[in-house]
């Protein structure tokens, strides 16, 4: 396929005087996971709603699976699996009945429904509770059922708003593994999340949204390079500190802190600096226990972007 499954240019959305999405350009290719990061109210949910053909953009264009989100709204919705911000289950229904309802809406044939619904319920550990009314489901169970609803019709494109919210670690891993599996099947996946570790783990590319526009975009490694210019590393060692080691470290990097059994230093290039540094410290008698790059996570990148753009932690209400 020589075009992205999700394509948006100059996407904008106004609600009266509120400019919820100012300008979003976005591509998600088949077999790619793109993560949208940003504070609350940054425009993530509104962007996803426009791409799901629920809201019409005020300006700009968007295509999903080659279809225009305004002109071909119904067909777009058929191609999309949407995990909404809230699970949104019908309290008096049971899981198989609930899934069957959505499968019918999405035109999943009866034999396929009969095969797929129990399999997915089993896979996500909900088969044993499928006789219970959905009102009795815990938050995590409801979230898993909503996730199943989103992937039930085997959509080409998935929009997942906080897919692991309210999930226990095991269930969250199951969902992340499923997302990777879907990516492997060639689906285009767009994930909105506040979970930076999850973003780092899943994303092929990350878009940071703020004030309704894209503030930063790139592969995680590119973003690290762009925003975390100096990595902070920590060496843990056994025994007492030896002042002779200080000279070795300062010859290659800048010491940040020395504590009980650890030394922290800053360097611009861990690949070039760490191997000779560890070798020389070991030769000088440091009993190295572990070496860890502390700033190698999305949190550092995200905070750097937020600080650079002067964004507040929460913005004013895009979640319409």
């Amino acid at each position: 396929m020589n075009y992205p499954l999700v394509w948006a240019r100059n996407l904008q959305k106004r609600f009266g005087e509120l400019h919820a999405v100012r300008r979003v350009d976005l591509d998600v290719w088949a077999g790619e996971v793109v993560v949208l990061l940003g504070p609350n109210g940054a425009g993530k949910t509104t962007t996803v709603r426009m791409l799901s053909a629920i809201l019409a953009p005020t300006e700009g264009e968007a295509r999903v699976a080659g279809l225009d989100v305004v002109r071909d709204a119904v067909q777009v919705r058929r191609k999309v699996g949407l995990l909404t911000e809230y699970p949104g289950l019908y309290a008096r229904m049971r899981a198989p009945e609930y899934l069957s309802f959505f499968a019918e809406l999405y035109g999943v044939p009866e034999p396929r429904r009969r095969e797929r619904i129990p399999a997915l319920l089993e896979q996500f550990g909900l088969w044993d509770v499928c006789h219970q009314p959905l009102a009795q489901y815990s938050k995590g169970m409801a979230q898993k059922l909503a996730f199943i609803r989103a992937i039930l019709h085997d959509p080409q494109v998935l929009f997942l708003d906080e897919p692991t919210a309210a999930l226990d670690p095991l269930s969250a891993k199951l969902v992340r593994d499923t997302i990777r599996e879907l990516k492997g099947q060639g689906k285009a996946v767009l994930v909105c999340t506040h979970n930076l570790l999850e973003a780092q783990e899943l994303a092929d590319r990350i878009l940071v949204l703020g004030r309704g526009e894209v503030l930063a975009e790139g592969r995680p490694a590119e973003l690290f390079q762009r925003y975390i210019r100096q990595a902070v590393c920590e060496i843990r060692f056994a025994g007492p500190w030896d002042e002779a080691w200080r000279e070795i470290i300062t010859s290659l990097a800048a010491i940040e802190a020395i504590g009980d059994g650890f030394v922290r230093y800053r360097t611009e290039n861990v690949t070039l600096v760490n191997p000779p540094l560890i070798a020389r410290l070991s030769a000088a008698g440091m009993p190295v226990v572990s070496v860890q790059i502390l700033s190698d996570n999305m949190e550092g990148v995200y905070l750097a972007i937020v600080a650079e753009k002067g964004l507040p932690a929460e913005e004013g209400g895009d979640a319409r």
Binding site: F15, G16, L18, R49, S52, A53, I54, L55, A56, D72, A73, V74, Q75, R77, R78, V80, L82, T84, E85, Y86, P87, G88, L89, Y90, A91, R92, M93, E97, F101, F102, E104, L105, Y106, G107, A146, R149, G317, A319, R320
Partner: protein, 484 residues
């Protein structure tokens, strides 16, 4: 159609209806009362009918039995329908409150299929219960009252009216549900459906007790037209975007007060210009009138229709010629004019307050009847004018002279005032099916109400005052002059 076939739309509609029906019937708070009303109420009403027959046998009031039994058929069919409102008002806004709506809005289903599916799902259970009630009532009548049979045409009428009433109520309630932000707000706005429906029922019962069963078919026709208008308006106005918006607020009366207070400052919509009579008459009132031009056209058409109807009635029911002996009128006729109780005195304050009161009542009735009440109340005096003009024409008395003498002097001021007030009242009443551009019914209701107040205070009231002065001081002189 969004590129979908009609067959696919119907399939999706059925999927929605099936789910909604299951959901409704599983909710004991709805299912149980419907069941009770369907089973218990008809038997109770049959008991009432039996009582009526007993009274007939004992006291000979045969008319009572003749009229009560068919009337109860309508009542029995209508009672379970009251639950259609509960279901319909929940349809969109209830799901929105429970955060269930977005997955449905994201599904590949056209607006029409979604809207109609929800609407039909809200109509079906109470309507079937209504039919079952009528059936049970008929059966009980036969069993309890020794084979008492009502004419089939009456059952047909009851079934048709029950069906149309259900559609009108549900269509109105679904419009409300799709354009409000909370179930509470929807319930408050439901009075705009309940009150007119109560009036409809009362008029139906009057027709039945009066022995004019045939008139009920005209009623059925009017309800059918109204149901179509409401369904079409609902479909036209249905927007997924409005359903997801939480920015719109329910607008309470205190907001009405705030909006009126803002009017005295320098609101943005007046270009920041502070309040002045110049601003009112050069900017505000013309702007509202421009906004109301379609309502004014509608009022104009209704007035013409009413006048023509009056003229037609004059031909059907002519007045005795001696009642139209205008040359016999003298100045003392007007001076010593004492009005029957309940009608205003022939003085400036008397006529002025009467007209102000009449137009305010008209606005209130209009607000609670989709504007129809306001139109009808204006049409009555217009019909009377048409009737008297027609009567004058019948006796060869010169219609133009009659109109110039009796209507034109004060009418040239009073009629525009009445037309404008009615057009504004019509807009207030129609707010239910013509939501604000942001999708909110309550906002539209509020803004049209504020427009009504502005125009009423600054245009209608002054015109009515002038008209009252002309009517008492100039009109009698013109009559004397033209008929002497």
């Amino acid at each position: 159609m969004h590129g979908e076939g009609a067959g696919e739309e119907i399939r999706l509609m059925r999927v929605i209806i099936r789910r909604e029906l299951r959901d409704t019937l599983r909710d004991w708070r709805i299912a149980m009362p419907i069941g009770i009303l369907t089973v218990v109420f008809p038997v109770l009403m049959a008991g009432v009918a039996q009582l009526a027959v007993y009274i007939v046998n004992r006291y000979g009031a045969s008319l009572l039995a003749e009229r009560v039994t068919p009337f109860l058929t309508l009542v029995v069919g209508f009672f379970p329908l009251s639950f259609s409102l509960v279901i319909a008002l929940e349809t969109f806004v209830g799901e929105k409150e429970r955060n269930c709506l977005e997955p449905l809005l994201a599904a590949p289903i056209s607006d029409r299929a979604l809207y109609m599916g929800k609407l039909l799902a809200a109509v079906i259970p109470p309507l079937l219960a209504g039919y079952a009630s009528i059936g049970l009532y008929a059966l009980t009548l036969r069993l309890v009252l020794g084979g008492l049979k009502l004419p089939p045409s009456l059952y047909a009428q009851a079934l048709v009216l029950t069906t149309l009433e259900a559609f009108v109520m549900v269509a109105g309630a679904v419009v409300v549900s799709a354009h409000t932000t909370s179930v509470r707000a929807a319930n408050l706005l439901a009075s705009f459906i309940i009150v007119p429906m109560a009036l409809v029922l009362q008029v139906e019962s009057i027709a039945l007790f009066w022995g004019r069963e045939g008139a009920l078919w005209w009623f059925a026709l009017a309800l059918g037209v109204l149901a179509i208008i409401l369904v079409r308006a609902g479909l036209r106005l249905f927007q997924r975007e409005h359903l997801l918006s939480r920015g719109r607020q329910g607008l309470p009366p205190r907001r009405l007060w705030q909006m009126l207070k803002e009017y005295w400052s320098a609101p943005a919509y007046a270009g920041g210009e502070p309040f002045s009579l110049r601003r009112v008459y050069l900017r505000d009132v013309p702007a509202v009138l421009k906004e109301s031009r379609r309502a004014l056209v509608c009022v104009g058409a209704s007035v013409v229709m009413a006048a023509l109807l009056g003229r037609y009635l004059a031909q059907q029911y002519p007045l005795p010629a001696d009642l139209l002996d205008f040359p016999a009128l003298s100045a003392s006729t007007f001076r010593g004019l004492s009005m029957p109780e309940g009608l205003p005195q022939f003085t400036v304050p008397g006529i002025f307050w009467n007209n102000v009161r009449a137009l305010l009542v008209e606005a209130c009735v209009g607000a609670l009847s989709l504007g129809m009440g306001a139109l009808l109340l204006l049409m009555v005096p217009m019909m009377l004018i048409g009737y008297f003009a027609g009567a004058v024409e019948q006796v060869g008395g010169g219609v133009s002279r009659f109109l110039v003498a009796f209507i034109l002097p004060h009418g040239v001021v009073e009629l525009p005032a009445a037309f404008v007030a009615t057009a504004l009242a019509l807009r207030v009443g129609l707010a239910l099916i013509t939501p604000h551009r942001d999708g909110s019914v309550s906002r539209q209701l509020l803004e049209t109400s504020v427009d009504f107040v502005k125009v009423f205070v600054f245009l209608v009231v002054p015109l009515l005052l002038i008209a009252a002065a002309v009517e008492t001081q100039i009109t009698p002189r013109v009559i004397m002059m033209l008929y002497r």
